[in-house]
Symmetry: C2
């Protein structure tokens, strides 16, 4: 659920802009202030019956490891729409969103992840361009040793913890965990 | 819970960067790609007994209108830490976070708002630099006609709807509402 940042332009310096109280990246050429805000990742634990959709990453980082369909929310997009878009892009999966499963904070990389519990509308899924392969896994068959990111572990375990429950409070980071790899 | 965007530098053009599939703002001077992502607003409905903390805004937009303590999440900050920081900055309020009350999407301005239900640790609150004045309101005395933003209405109404409940699913936008003013 991470993607690499863009290459840093060489013309930027760290400076506190007028009226601000924090160092920001300011372009020495054009004066543009690159306000860096946390990014929102939206995704889903999507199921068909008891089986859970996982995708093998075709892109860095963590190529070849298994992840949930998830990615950066785009501008002018709602969180639910973004989770559905990512499921389509990565797994050609059509979702019926159930409810918010987890809200995870990963301060090291400035991410807020909103992971929904969802049902697949049909079991017809197939790999999108960022996915090597995908599968619908029984819980017992999840490839725990080849999971891409800590937050994928969290979301899967949280999914299991609230199995059969409705109207629950979304889960957060496991105690003391920050997403460090 | 909105703040104005930065002035747009004149040197940017709209272009699809190599390997991307969307128009992005690219600086014609230095080639910097300004990836615009939705911003995360974190805030709270914070109470002392039955009274709810509201702040009158001292900054644009909506100067003089009442709002919840809330603002943009900063980089390398967790959502809960951000909500507590904003309560301190705007109201010198110390919070004990209860649970996530609402997750609101405002696609028009590309905001995701995470609003927590919280208790004040003490009733000793005072206006920070972005606040004209503040008060602890009984529900019956909330100045509904002078509320700054639609999402403040949503969060207050959602707070009322889940009064006495624990372990509830966070609320979303009211049906059909997008936050248009």
């Amino acid at each position: 659920m991470e993607t690499p940042g863009q290459p840093k332009a060489q013309s930027f310096e760290q400076r506190i802009p007028e009226g601000d109280d924090r160092l920001r990246r300011v372009c020495q050429d054009c004066g543009f202030v690159d306000y860096e805000n946390p990014k929102v990742v939206v995704g889903s634990v999507a199921t068909w019956g008891d089986k859970i959709l996982l995708c093998r990453r075709a892109i860095a980082p963590r190529i070849g490891y298994w992840t949930l369909p998830a990615g950066y929310l785009e501008i002018h997009e709602s969180a639910v729409d973004g989770a559905c878009r990512e499921a389509w892009e990565e797994a050609r999966a059509e979702l019926e969103i159930d409810q918010l499963l987890g809200v995870y904070s990963i301060p090291r990389i400035s991410q807020i992840q909103l992971i929904y519990r969802a049902r697949l509308v049909t079991p017809d899924v197939s790999a999108g361009p960022e996915t090597q392969e995908l599968d619908l896994f029984d819980w017992a068959d999840i490839p725990w040793d080849d999971i891409a990111f800590p937050s994928v572990h969290w979301a899967l375990n949280d999914f299991d913890a609230v199995r059969g429950m409705t109207g629950f409070a979304p889960r957060g980071n496991p105690a003391g965990e920050t997403g460090a790899m």
